[in-house]
């Protein structure tokens, strides 16, 4: 009987303990907390006990307790949100943030349409997207790239001979003609690209001087006149005016600028002009600065170099690319008896060899009897110059050095 009572008591104790351990997840506040699940932020404007806050020791407890309540509220909110499963793991879908925060950069502007794109849009021409990159070539009997570097190479191989058309000049170089035509096409494309850019930036087209002579456009003629007038040694300064000549307008550097116009006393117009200029100055602009590009590229390059250097200094030898063997031309030249290596070292080696031979000769002549010893010293010297022992030359049957290979060391 006693045991039974003890048992029930214990069970009750355990339950009570468990209840004590499992604290509530409920948060009650006078003013409800504002949560922004997108940023995981909580704003609490409830009142807290001022006298306790002033007390340094009590402050920490208060801060921790109100912080706990806020986090509890936030997590309760987050747990109530929709979930997904990624790789068998449950994830809470975070909604967009409610709080308005500034962007980092301005909203990108849509790219202006090129002349062709505009035309295609008007006519409803669809781009041939999804075209295969490779097309069947009847001559080559295989699939070849539609365009690009490889295509150019193949075309070059294919068009090794060109037909001279019937009515063409037989002495005309058809290859040169094709090359010229290609150059023209490239130039035309470049011009069109620039034109598109100019339209996109709303600036005038680049002036290319006077091109044609068969034009009857008055503007063109005026332009031609303007250029011809200024085409003297003194830049047209002393050019006398022709009879009935009207000064050409609109082509000078300051044409259309306010610099030309005198102040007429129109204060309003003047102030609006000034404001316009100010507006232009204050407008933020993000341009692909050459300065920045250069710096970025330099930074990337520097990093790459640094990386390589670091790899060289540390790590396994196998990762560094094998043994550190000198690849100097001098060594190669000495190994192959002046047959390989770079030009200067070959030359130098042969020069040295010749000098040595001469020296040996003169020595031999001087000390006739000791002739037998000289070649030995020569050999010794030669051995010294062979500072790379791990390499050996491979010879062909005729004795000519074919290649220098690394000697295997076991």
């Amino acid at each position: 009987m006693m045991e039974e009572v003890d048992g029930t008591l214990r069970v009750q104790q355990i339950i009570a303990q468990a209840d004590r351990e499992l604290k509530s997840t409920q948060v009650d506040k006078d003013i409800p907390l504002e949560t922004d699940p997108g940023n995981l932020s909580v704003v609490d404007i409830n009142y807290f006990d001022e006298s306790c806050m002033r007390n340094v020791e009590e402050r920490e407890d208060i801060l921790a307790s109100i912080g706990r309540d806020s986090v509890q509220q936030l997590i309760s909110h987050m747990y109530s949100l929709q979930r997904t499963t990624i790789d068998n793991q449950p994830f809470i879908i975070v909604p967009n943030s409610v709080t308005k925060l500034p962007r980092e950069k301005p909203i990108p502007k849509p790219k202006p349409l090129t002349r062709w794109e505009k035309f295609a849009l008007e006519k409803g021409i669809k781009s041939k997207k999804g075209r295969d990159f490779k097309v069947w070539d009847d001559v080559a009997q295989e699939f070849v790239p539609r365009y690009g570097k490889l295509r150019v190479q193949l075309d070059k191989e294919k068009n090794w001979v060109m037909e001279v058309p019937d009515n063409a000049d037989p002495y005309e170089d058809q290859f040169a003609k094709a090359a010229e035509a290609k150059k023209e096409r490239i130039a035309k494309n470049e011009f069109q690209r620039l034109r598109n850019l100019a339209r996109a930036k709303k600036t005038g087209m680049p002036g290319v001087g006077v091109l044609r002579t068969d034009t009857h456009d008055t503007n063109e003629l005026k332009k031609a006149m303007h250029y011809s007038l200024a085409s003297t040694a003194s830049l047209g300064k002393f050019q006398p005016a022709l009879r009935g000549e009207v000064p050409v307008k609109g082509f000078t550097y300051n044409a259309g600028k306010s610099v030309d116009k005198p102040f007429t006393g129109d204060v309003r117009a003047e102030s609006s002009n000034a404001m316009k200029i100010l507006g232009r100055i204050n407008r933020p602009e993000l341009s692909n600065d050459q300065d920045v590009i250069k710096k970025m590229e330099k930074k990337i390059l520097d990093e790459e170099i640094e990386e390589r250097r670091a790899l060289k200094l540390s790590g396994r030898r196998s990762k560094r690319g094998g043994r550190l063997v000198s690849k100097s031309g001098a060594a190669l030249a000495s190994l192959t008896e002046g047959q390989m290596g770079d030009r200067t070292s070959r030359k130098r080696y042969l020069e040295k060899q010749r000098q040595q031979a001469e020296e040996a000769k003169t020595k031999g002549k001087k000390s006739g009897g000791k002739g037998g010893k000289t070649p030995k010293t020569g050999n010794k010297r030669k051995d010294k110059s062979l500072f790379i022992v791990s390499k050996k030359p491979m010879r062909t049957a005729s004795g000519r050095i074919k290649n220098v290979v690394k000697k295997r060391q076991r």
Binding site: S24, S41, V43, K105, P106, P206, G207, E297
Partner: protein, 312 residues
């Protein structure tokens, strides 16, 4: 004769990609932060920067040498650094007799300073006084703001926004239910801002939502607001503008009434009653048949009468 602006193009593919990465986007990259030591610094300021850098390490750059930058006097240097490193947040520490243990927090828009706030650090508690239990770098912290002070003056409203922007961490679309690790708390009381950092411990509660417990991990300090430079409302408005592509599309012709029933409005072409398919019953069929027969007979009779008249 207009002279065209030369178009500068990157000469390498890598350069091109790097430029694309830093170009303005509809959905932006996470903001990068630049941590800078000023000309003269104090150990407290430096420790503070380092401890924040530990949280924000992934999207941050630390300039730990002496930099003669004084943002409240001239911003050019700072803006140049921002442009070069593609950062849009910064934290700079300085130390002087007039403003000891100084930290300037700020944000930039389009590499131009938007807001910056100068904060004085006091009541710094060394990191060694806290337990060694740390959180992983790059976790998204919970940001808590306490006190009415943050809503009272426009300066403090902006400070709250700046602190949120500065500490909110990476933007995420999904979060693991166990991924809440760090809580950063700012409490405003009598002009002072108490900053506390806690590690979040999720305990069993008997229900699905866990019971939250906090453990302080530092840094722990108080701020006082010193100088500040706020963006004009106009500039802030342009900076806060959201691209159209991101905004949700307005839902047309679907509404909900007070009872929560979904109502839809459908637009249709005009119905022709003549072509209307009605219910087919034998009775209607028979009636129609009779009518046709009757009309036929009448027509025949009329024709016969006509013929008779003509013959006469």
């Amino acid at each position: 004769m207009g002279v065209i602006q030369r178009v500068v193009k990157p000469s390498t593919q890598r350069g091109k990609r790097a430029l694309e990465a830093r170009a303005p986007k509809v959905i932006e990259n996470d903001k990068k932060t630049l941590f800078i030591h000023g000309q003269k610094t104090s150990p407290i300021g430096r420790d503070f920067l380092k401890s924040i850098y530990a949280f924000k390490r992934i999207n941050s750059i630390y300039f730990g040498r002496k930099n003669p930058i004084f943002p409240f006097e001239e911003v050019e240097k700072l803006e140049r650094l921002s442009k070069l490193n593609d950062t849009s947040l910064f934290a700079l520490t300085t130390h002087s007799k007039k403003r000891p243990n100084n930290v300037i927090l700020g944000r930039l828009f389009n590499h131009q300073v938007l807001d910056m706030m100068e904060l004085g650090i006091s009541d710094w508690r060394d990191l060694e006084t806290f337990c060694k239990n740390k959180v992983g770098a790059g976790t998204k912290p919970c940001i808590l703001f306490h006190g009415v002070g943050f809503t009272q003056s426009p300066e403090y409203v902006r400070l709250k926004s700046l602190l949120l922007d500065f500490f909110r961490g990476p933007q995420v679309t999904n979060i693991s239910p166990a991924g809440f690790e760090l809580a950063i708390q700012f409490t405003m009381f009598e002009g002072k801002i108490f900053m506390r950092c806690y590690k979040i411990l999720l305990k069993k509660s008997g229900v699905e939502v866990p019971r939250v417990e906090l453990q302080e991990i530092g840094p722990s300090l108080s701020f006082t607001l010193r100088r500040s430079k706020l963006a004009s409302d106009d500039m802030l408005k342009t900076a806060c503008r959201k691209p159209k592509a991101v905004l949700p599309k307005p839902v047309k012709n679907i509404s909900k009434n007070a009872l929560g029933t979904k109502l839809g409005r459908i637009h249709m072409t005009k119905q022709h009653l003549k072509d209307l398919q009605v219910r087919k019953t034998p009775a209607i069929k028979k009636a129609k048949k009779d009518q046709i027969q009757k009309r036929k007979m009448e027509k025949n009779l009329a024709n016969a009468a006509k013929a008779a008249n003509l013959v006469k």
